[in-house]
């Protein structure tokens, strides 16, 4: 069982998954205003969760590696399949 208190990345994964599911729904329903509004709301939560995670644990994407770190942190933190990252 995944415990989100044990794993800070889970907050990011949660909102990313919500965005993905909404994205897939919108692909076949591009005019659904309610879903579009939901996507926007979740996107803000996702961005917030990603920013908090990256400030604490390191970059998730190369483009955020250039901001707020002293070195190219992209290759310093564990890769996702290492046990330390999970």
């Amino acid at each position: 069982m995944i415990n989100e208190r044990m794993n800070p990345i889970f907050e990011v994964q949660k909102y990313e998954f919500v965005l993905l599911e909404t994205n897939l729904y919108l692909d076949s329903h591009p005019d659904d205003q309610e879903a579009l509004e939901y996507f926007r709301r979740m996107l803000a939560l996702y961005k917030d969760a990603k920013e908090k995670y990256e400030a604490k644990c390191g970059p998730i994407t190369p483009d955020s590696t250039g901001i707020g770190y002293e070195r190219w942190e992209w290759v310093m933190t564990p890769w996702p399949w290492e046990l330390e990252a999970n």
Binding site: P62, W74, M76, W79, W81
Partner: protein
């Protein structure tokens, strides 16, 4: 995890169709030294690499190769638009057309479908990085050969860009090999092997 960006890495805008060019260029999607093999090779070699910097390199180059698959597919798509029956029959494209119409299918110029047998994942940093160095050179030669066989400046422009990327990747992998030889437990690993990497093996 991967996210898609809705754009090509470098523009592909080919005005004139040319099915015989398409038939040879498809080899850089699904041929023995094509982009699909490159992406698959690098992204799968990452897991057992003993250095996070080399993992970063394989991740970033492997990801770029996925973008190159899209560029090759775009070139082939644009070269096979609005074909006439005569063009299909006279260009030699008919042998591709009969099986795939103008769909994008990963195969070699010879018609052999994409095969993972053309790539290697050995689970050893020296074997794998040497494989990658050779792969970049082989892909570069294939692009050189495509340039020898095509005149259309629109096609050549995109192919030249892809060729240059092979050269850059070769340089980066050469650095990775240097890192692996210099930085690991027994310093200056001149003979390029290191049994201490096998510490995960239990007797």
């Amino acid at each position: 995890m991967w996210m898609y960006e809705k754009k090509l890495q470098y523009p592909v805008k080919i005005k004139n169709s040319d099915p015989s060019a398409a038939k040879i260029i498809i080899t850089q999607l699904g041929g023995p030294d094509g982009e699909m093999g490159a992406a698959t090779r690098y992204l799968n070699q990452r897991y057992t690499m003993p250095d996070r910097r080399i993992i970063g390199m394989l991740t970033d180059i492997g990801t770029e190769e996925l973008g190159h698959e899209e560029m090759i597919a775009s070139i082939v798509y644009q070269l096979t638009r609005n074909l006439s029956e005569a063009q299909i029959k006279n260009s030699g494209f008919d042998t591709y057309f009969v099986d795939h119409t103008t769909g994008i299918y990963p195969q070699a110029a010879s018609g052999v479908p994409f095969s993972a047998a053309a790539l290697e994942v050995k689970g050893d940093v020296f074997a794998d990085i040497n494989e990658d160095l050779a792969a970049e050179q082989k892909a570069r030669v294939t692009y050189d050969n495509i340039l020898r066989l095509t005149d259309d400046p629109d096609v050549r422009d995109a192919i030249k860009f892809l060729r240059e990327r092979e050269i850059v990747h070769y340089q980066r992998f050469a650095e990775a090999l240097g890192m692996a030889q210099d930085d690991f437990p027994d310093k200056k690993n001149f003979y390029a092997f290191n049994p201490s990497f096998d510490k995960c093996m239990k007797k």
